[in-house]
Symmetry: C2
Subunit: 131 residues, 2 copies
Amino acid sequence: MDAVLRADLVARGMTPDCAETIELVRDVLTRVGDKWTVLVVTTLEPGPMRFTALHERIAGISQRMLSHTLRALQRDGLITRTAYAEVPPRVEYALTPLGRSLAAAVDHLVLWVRTHRTDIARNREDFDGGG
Amino acid sequence: MDAVLRADLVARGMTPDCAETIELVRDVLTRVGDKWTVLVVTTLEPGPMRFTALHERIAGISQRMLSHTLRALQRDGLITRTAYAEVPPRVEYALTPLGRSLAAAVDHLVLWVRTHRTDIARNREDFDGGG
DNA sequence: CCGGATCCAAGCGGATACTG
DNA sequence: CAGTATCCGCTTGGATCCGG
């Protein structure tokens, strides 16, 4: 991954274990924080869904980005991809237990945002307006 | 913000309130998930710190990105910036209560990563290696 | 000491067209 | 139906120089 950064963190007095954790946290946050991941995961929460169903329900996403996002989630083991040998083809995506547990962890952040969004909005207005 | 996306979410059957929450969640995750925010926040956790101290402790960050990251955090009200009229100039940054509460919310994600990082690493290896 | 201004490279994400 | 390929603009982030 980013061995240089890890070495830097260790040099700052961190244990290698803690440094690697920070790396991974940033990595996970970067993935979850991209444009579509949260929407895809929340859309999958009720149950398995097909590619086209996701494409219809997540209005505004392109086929390319839906495909990329699904593949990234699959790579991390957060969703499963099941292709059925039928005509026409059918592919279903579903959250794994790991994906569900991540969604639960993200829920804490969702709760934090719901609680403090007015604070943030006001802070931004003050900062932008008041200089 | 992204009025189009919000309209899309509402069209999907979401309440405007919930749609706005998802927007803000994505917004916060995007901010927190950038390259340096987590490191800056964790570095500030022990107490207030000067620009140069941050620059030294967060090895690898450029002055430009440190400045940008600090300003973004300040804009959201997550840190304070205190400039002292001295020669040479002295500026101190510190987490606000809001910033501290966000750090606590992020801690859940940190815990999740600590718990499941081996799973994720193995999933990626399987996916990359196994095709 | 603190950072703004400028320039530049890499990657994310969108539109469109095309396959099994 | 479920994607892949190509092209392209925009944003992120780094290097460097300059000002208060």
